[in-house]
Symmetry: C2
Subunit: 344 residues, 2 copies
């Protein structure tokens, strides 16, 4: 079973190779008659252009390879999968393929890692996900090779590449207002790692919206285990917070675990709000109130921009919203106090 080539189509349609090529590539100046004839031949033969030949032939002129790559350095399966789903959907819609690459941004040899990835990668563009979005050398290298970039939720280097974002600060502010509306006045926040751009934005947004209210801070690295540790610190303070904003859902799950160990109940003793509305949020008990972030849609849009070769000068801003589940309630009337010491 030989491969159907452009020549077969040309023969069948009784036209030249170049005419078929024109039809396939939707070039201008092709008569309707010829187009129809070629398209019929293509269909009847089941012709599909060969990607390798296409990129080879166009090598000089920067031909498309019909594949884009997505770069990760993210420990969170939930986030990663959502991004992949969105990017993959866009790829399928446009006949593209999706390559997955990942690096360790913390390592010394980021340059070598990127070289290994880019060596013979024929890709039409690369989507950067946090925290690779904040790494300048990655962008430098991509730009040097003329590979278009779209960043998802970047914080630094604003405007340097097209980007798809949500307003993290505003979302965090909404968390703060939700807590206050419930009557809370003692707050805690569990921050992500500083190098992760959005971590800082969420923190600022939350604290500013809190105004002068008391807010204890701890850091959890965006990881479940880190969330437990951080929650311990917060929940054992003398002035125990009754409302904790975990800046992602995984860490919020950590708050549950810590609360459990300390004999505290969610939401009676402590209200928790997460961020992401990931799979975790519905898989914990009680269901986690959290900020829904349209990760899949953001990723889809990022891929679409790359594939359509659009590069909007303004960031594409997408909508978030607060999802209320069962992890938030008014503060208990009972006297609060440090736990694990004299209570319960």
């Amino acid at each position: 079973m030989r491969r159907v080539t452009i020549r077969d189509v040309a023969d069948r349609a009784g036209v030249s190779l170049k005419s078929v090529s024109r039809v396939v590539n939707h070039e201008a100046n092709v008569s309707a008659k010829l187009r129809a004839r070629v398209e019929a031949a293509i269909t009847s033969l089941g012709y599909v252009p060969d990607t390798a030949a296409r990129s080879l032939a166009g090598a000089r002129f920067g031909a498309r390879s019909f594949a884009i790559a997505c770069l990760f350095d993210n420990p969170s399966p939930n986030y990663t999968i959502k991004v992949q789903q969105g990017v993959y959907a866009a790829c399928r819609e446009h006949g593209y393929h999706l390559l997955i690459e990942s690096i360790d941004c913390q390592a010394e040899d980021v340059e070598a890692q990127m070289n290994a990835i880019l060596q013979n990668a024929r890709i039409d563009g690369m989507i950067l996900t946090p925290p690779t979005t904040e790494h300048e050398m990655v962008m430098n290298m991509l730009e040097a090779r003329g590979i278009p970039i779209v960043r998802i939720a970047p914080v630094s280097f604003a405007g340097r590449t097209p980007a798809v974002i949500i307003d993290d600060a505003a979302a965090a502010g909404e968390v703060a207002r939700h807590f206050r509306a419930l009557g809370h006045s003692h707050f805690g926040i569990i921050n992500g790692p500083i190098e992760h751009g959005a971590a800082g934005t969420r923190r600022t947004g939350f604290i500013e919206a809190l105004g002068r209210a008391d807010c204890a801070e701890a850091t959890g690295g965006f990881l479940f285990a880190g969330g437990i540790e951080a929650a311990y610190k917060l929940l054992r303070r003398d002035a125990r917070p009754t409302a904790i904003f975990a800046t992602n859902d995984d860490m919020a799950a950590g708050v549950y675990a810590a609360a459990n160990k300390l004999g505290l109940k969610v939401p009676q003793d402590v209200s928790v709000i997460g961020f992401d509305d990931s799979w975790t949020a519905t898989c914990v008990w009680p269901g986690l109130t959290t900020i829904y972030q349209p990760i899949t849609e953001m990723a889809h849009e990022a891929a679409r921009l790359l594939i359509m070769r659009e590069s909007p000068r303004e960031d594409v801003v997408m909508a978030y919203h607060l999802v209320e589940r069962a992890s938030t309630a008014p503060p208990a009337l009972a006297a609060r106090g440090p736990v694990g010491v004299r209570t319960l």
Copy 2:
């Protein structure tokens, strides 16, 4: 900045194109002297072979494209990510790229979906993950196009393709023995979907190892939500099981949620064992006793087989083990009975 081609290397080394090609491809019959010269030229020029040209040139002979694809139809992020990590690591080790594809096995148009994927995919092989492993048409189409396959944890069509597996039945048996060793005598199992091969294997292994003991069954579709439903059914029976085997961790998390709602405590009122040792297992409270499955290693091995073009006739069997955490304990001495009706 022009691309460094094989011609540049040949000129620099003062040899023919073909000689460079020989060195690059590690072909036999190349003198050490020539090889050294060529390698020096390659290094100094920073030459990297062009993938597109390579596959084009070898098109007739089934040249390599230096990329493999991994096919998913799996709702579980935890599983998917682990597989990807393993496959990706193997790819990086060998200078390969990883393509991600996914289909909906339940849909009518699997053939069309696969066609869309395979259209112009230049891949050296495809890794099938459950449940795509059980879909005969997928294998047919791949084989028709001469694309090598390796399956991860297949159940049907044994021996048809190289495969990397664990002994699911034996693992499930170990779960049963663990429960019995703790003194349990009333069991429950939450099964995965039948089309998911391993679901059946785990069930059989568990029930057989239980011998004549009482075992209630329910189905949870390998999903958290399904696990809750199934656990409800099991825990509200008159003869409430004190030990439940959830055939994956997500459903085990569902058991926790159901138990919580019914006012039952894990492990005091009900012991739970999961399967996978996924991220979930350490993220629930109390920590979930589960079967560790070396998913990442299995995926790594599958990718290695594909890349090295090995096709062992025997399945590659990898080791599992039971990880004991805090979700298992001897059955409570207190009288059992249906819950939500007259107890607690």
